[in-house]
Amino acid sequence: MIRAAISFVAFLALSPLLLGVVNRVKALFAGRTGPPLLQLYFDLHRLLGKGAVYGVATTWVFRAGPVIGLAAVIAAGLVMSFGGAPALVAFPGDFVLFAYLLGLARFFTALAALDTGSSFEGMGAAREVTFSSFAEPALFLCLVVMARASGALSLSGMLGDELAAAWHVQGPALLLAAVALLGVALAENARIPVDDPNTHLELTMIHEVMVLDHSGPDLALVQYGAALKLFLFGALVVRLTLGFPIASPALSLLAFLGGMLGFGVAIGTVESTVARLRLVRIPQLLVGATVLSAFALVLLLR
């Protein structure tokens, strides 16, 4: 329980740092010094001190969007197992709740975007809901593969000590699932090659254009929520790929945090070396991830 609580606090505290790592890696690739690792903390602090401006068309839905979005992502963290530590709440089928809480966050972010009455934000919301409905089956297939391999139906069981044994027996299937999961993580978190978080052209944006009208504390909630979500998917991918058991909880936490650092570097590397896909290709990427994970499932069930 204490281990779970420490992991959860680390999740809340270290998520913005992960984005700092990603941005620093991207800067290094581009030959720049880049912003400090703690830049997002400074940004959040600055935004929380500011006022906000609201569009004339907006209603309470626009204000509720960031609040519900962040609350849902934090609640999703309650059932997530970080680095093999048990989650704060664990029960069979908790990953369904996990996925649907992220769905709740997405639903309200899209509604807040539509509330502005801007066609750009409508466009972003349409893309977000379209691509996420292709990402959901891939995510669930990956989770089913992990459930089948570990013989457990809760995230804590799937990412717990059974994972090491599962890698020995079902290595190829888990590898395929990890690759597919990485694709889903990139899509769900609006990273290149699906979406560019740094773009300045509204027509090509997905997630960033949805939150274009948020300002001040609202924007802080949105940005913190995005960082937490990236951390959640990172925890899933990192634990799946580094599934070995470590007896000491402290060492295990360290290994997990090291893995998260590696995840940040990997995302930064992908973002620096891969070109962004055309919008029409994104469903193909996600269907590709679905096919990969379905193949992994076939390997397990043969």
Partner: protein, 668 residues
Amino acid sequence: MIPALVIAAVVLTASSGLLGLPLRRWPARAQRLSSAALCLGALVGVTGAVLALRAPTPPALALPWAAPGGTFSLRLDGLSALFLLPVLVVPSLGSIYGLAYYPQARHGARAIRLQIFYGLVTGAMALVVTAANAILFLAAWEVMALSGYFLVVTEHEDAEVRRAGFVYLASAHAGNLALFALFLLLGQVAGSLDFGAMAGLPAHGGVAAAIFLLALGGFGLKAGMLPLHFWLPGAHAAAPTHVSALMSGVLLKTGIYGLLRVTGFFEAPPAAWGTVMLAGGAVSAVLGVAFALAQHDVKRLLAYHSVENIGIIAMGIGLALLGRARGDPALVLLGIGGAVLHVVNHATFKALLFLGAGAVVHATGTREIDRLGGVARAMPRTAALFLVGAAAICGLPPLNGFASEWLVYLGSLRTALDVGAAPHPHFAVLGAPVLAFVGGLAAACFAKVFGAIFLGQGRSPLAANAHEAPGAMLAPMLVLAAICVVIGLAPGAVLPWLARAAAHWSGLPAEALAGPAAEAGASATRVSGVAAALVGLVVALAAFRRRRLPAPQPRAETWGCAYARPTARMQYTASSFAEMLVVRFGWAFFPRARVVPPQGIFPRRASFEASVPDTVLDVGVAPAASFLARLAARARSPLLGSVQLQALLLVSGLVALLLWLALGGSPT
């Protein structure tokens, strides 16, 4: 005692519309009286259902009845009692809504007719889900189907409404034909038309397969499982809103009830039945929501979502059938629990959505999503209640839709593990990604509906002149939304009832289901915990945000890339919102588009029109039916058109029959 309560409920609800007749000169009072009678009947019936759910054995009653093969017997096992709850609650709330939506003072005789059939259909449905004799069941079923027709054609001046009504009537009777054959076969196998005698039939052999297929056809047609859903969108769109809520919320569910009842008769249904239900449900769910995405009419859209949700329910039934085939009580509990809870949940949130959509139609006069926008500012309460329903139907926590879909998920995931007496067929685990896909599409669809209707700016003057719905319309919606929240926050509270329904359906002893039920209950408590944490976090973050932004904040024009003259018509429309997803289903849709592209350097006129007809009805059934009609017209000799000749044919047929009887033929 408990069956008497149910009979009282049936009589009160069925006659509620007639009670208002003597007061025709005071229309408002007459309508309130009949609504009060309906609500009182519902209250009595709900009391009976709740008592039946707590009774040690299912209460039953059997009275002699003159109908051949029929007895007037009722039985309230777990399944009947759970179905009885939405069957009574939704219509009674709908009748209160009708006080403001369809006032007798304005609509006169038409409103009276509507109330009479509204009460009649409610009583008939209550009888359908409690009848324990095939003849009684079929009689109630027929009354229900016919009253449904008269409700659909309430506004029969409109040709579109008459067409929808005819399609409904024709398909309802095609379904009835299958049901007659079904119960004849069942009666022959069991030796009696009483449901009690039909329990525990062997499920092997051709007759059992024929019975299953007939049930799938007859009841599937009523439930609206793809591809038998074709009557449903038209009928739901044509009927007044509170009738649509009743039809979509509970009338369809009688088909599900029938499927459950008939499959429950058999001792050990083969795995193939479960496979068929699971696959059929998956197809229904995916294509139902895909068709919904392509709709422009809010009521047709909601109707297609019923097809989707019936699919999810069918998936639950399929899993439970697989569980029985393999002797796995936990899978039976999860499948039936998910299916029956989803029946109750869909009844609440779909009724809520229809009533909310009706309030918008009432206030703006249009069902076209793309002509609305920004309605939330004029109708904040309707918007908030509609949003609860929208989030619930997408299965988002902490609302009730999540609770039932989660049970179906658990059932599907269970088949991935090698547990239970015999390993499950692994393909059933594919139900989970299918449900996830459906959930994603449903969220997309309701982001579109809620966004285009309630958010942004009005796209036409109709939207700008909207007004908040009166209290009589808001109060029923509030009750439905409260049910959505309560079941969503505490799904564990209904689990014992679901376990009881699963035990009565499967014939498994309650002890076999107690273990899985306790396990699911423990998990449900944790779901409640996370749901409560979510609500707490929302409240805390909202308070935090308010402390940071105390004073009213400045407002400005929405950012539009610095374009100086934005108009409301430049907003993203519902059609464009769904377009990326709709094109990917083009293989199932046959979309029709009329495009007049802009031409020349100074283009004058350009237009774009697109619609997605129902593939099954407009591409399949309707052309086939009109072809058959033409063929029949050609085959009919002109001589036979004369009345005299037809009378002669009738009489000679009768005489032939009488002669055959007189010469020693036997009628059976």
